[in-house]
Symmetry: C2
Subunit: 327 residues, 2 copies
């Protein structure tokens, strides 16, 4: 059985029910589920005070379960970044722990890359959150099947690629580099700090929620002006939704924002990655060496699976947003 | 007569009326008002396309009026930062041009400091915006008198201090350093880029609008983690309003956010500065050498006025939010 620990590193769980539903569903999927002792702790808007959440991170790193799945994001990891024992977290990944999550978890995942020593490659997984995804009630639409399948496959070590459809204009693009990224706001909140990883020649994926396109544009232009975008081989945009139009937009849109960013960087900026604050989301290994290939409008991001297949051979392509099954 | 040019460097003016009202009021105050030729240009949500707004900046820098007052903020300067002829802008300040504004203008004002050569000290003014302040109709409450008086005094070169009341706990604090700052989101959007000024031992003032306290906290902690807060002599917070409480806050508030920042930095963090997206706002010389003194709960931020007074003598203190008159 694959051991999986649920914990709460950032925002508070207002109710226990979604966590219980998530635990039950994950057990049904065959995981040996444990709930961290402070997963339901409450301090203002946080899942316990800073000491409590920090202790949970270190407790889990020490126990090194196969999977450490965050209950939800929210806000809270920023407060802990300067206190985290990064060596211990990185060590847990070397012992096989897969840290999974998204949103606020971006800072944990990128912090591990930033604090890795030469030769270390602490891979974590951008993917679902326990309550948001596995804890969704039937009235809330229930669990998304693609998200679930992609997660279980990734946690088994078999997932080696995800595929999706992008816009025209990137035909025959093929690049290799470190796959990294996450939530745009959280990623940018690391800029200028020791927790921002210095990755050159990478494949950078980004998503965000409730951010007007002018704010998305401002964040992406900051990355460009900081030298980050031009230093990548490709930028891949996931979901950017939940924002409201303003009467002042006058035709300005997410499309216009992306065009402005494309005009500023020499790096190709692709769209369409099924990732973000949406029901259907893939799992992506943050920090892994990956390849991105485009054939027509089909994009495949592949990496070496843990089952020993190399990732230089031909991958299956998928037309619909979703994931590619291990061979 | 003091020449004053109105221009639109960022967001579009949906209507001409506020600009006309501002021009009329500023003329009544004795300024020789000119409206830049592209002040009413429109491109999507911008006051003209990027080339148009960039040309306006350089045209005004070349003409070097006594005052260059932005019509409004919004979003737009980020797009221009890598193309601005900073040398030309800095030169205009040496010829006496006072660039005035706030919000998105923060990037212009801090960019000048970041691009200044050794020995250059390009001072600009954090202060009102033409349409938001001088263009306010009577139905919108009209012009704020303190804002107006502080502006006219600053533009005459006579303003040498602003005073306000802060919380208990900073009695007898006295520091000197470069006064700098502005809008928190915009300031943070420069982190990691060549447009962020490296100021040590300064007095950093910050404000923001429509940002939930957790976002304010995240931005301030980023500044701390980037080494910026600890490197300052004092941090002074202006207005942070317009945000909405969330059911998940559970007692978390702006006060809790400020407490978290105070726990993270050794630099005193004062509140109460009458500055931000509020009617009553002072003018502050960005980049000037300044002093901050606290007596009881009264804070005075002073600097050398252009009338040759040094700022080591005793200043008048003011109890109410507002500005201190030149001696």
């Amino acid at each position: 059985m694959t051991s999986l620990t649920l914990y709460t590193p950032a925002g508070v769980l207002a109710q226990a029910q979604p966590l219980k539903r998530a635990a039950k569903r994950l057990a049904q999927l065959g995981f040996e589920v444990a709930i961290d002792e402070s997963a339901l702790a409450k301090h203002q808007r946080f899942g316990g005070d800073d000491e409590t959440r920090l202790a949970a991170l270190h407790r889990i790193a020490k126990a090194s379960p196969s999977v450490a799945l965050a209950s939800r994001g929210g806000y809270g990891l920023t407060r802990l970044l300067d206190q985290i024992n990064w060596k211990q977290l990185i060590k847990s990944t070397e012992r096989g722990t897969r840290w999974v999550g998204q949103s606020d978890l971006t800072s944990l995942q990128l912090g591990m890359l930033a604090h890795a020593k030469d030769g270390q490659r602490p891979v974590s997984w951008a993917g679902p959150l326990a309550c948001d995804d596995f804890g969704r009630s039937e009235e809330e639409g229930g669990m998304d099947e693609i998200t679930q399948d992609c997660f279980t496959e990734a946690m088994s070590g078999a997932l080696e690629a995800v595929g999706f459809r992008t816009e025209a204009g990137f035909e025959e693009l093929g690049v290799r580099g470190t796959l990294w990224g996450g939530n745009l706001c959280v990623l940018n909140s690391l800029l200028g700090t020791p927790h921002f990883p210095k990755i050159k020649g990478g494949i950078l994926f980004l998503e965000d929620i409730n951010e007007h396109p002018y704010r998305v544009e401002r964040s992406l232009l900051q990355l460009q002006q900081a030298g980050v975008l031009d230093a990548q081989k490709a930028v891949v945009l996931g979901d950017f939704s939940g924002w409201r139009k303003s009467p002042l937009d006058r035709g300005y849109s997410l499309k216009a924002a992306i065009e402005a960013v494309r005009a500023a960087t020499r790096t190709p900026v692709l769209t369409g990655l099924p990732f973000g604050h949406v029901r259907t989301k893939v799992c992506l290994p943050v920090g892994a060496k990956a390849e991105l290939y485009v054939q027509g409008r089909e994009v495949l991001i592949g990496w070496a699976s843990e089952h020993g297949h190399d990732n230089n051979h031909h991958h299956d392509h998928h037309d619909a947003p979703g994931h590619s099954h291990g061979h």
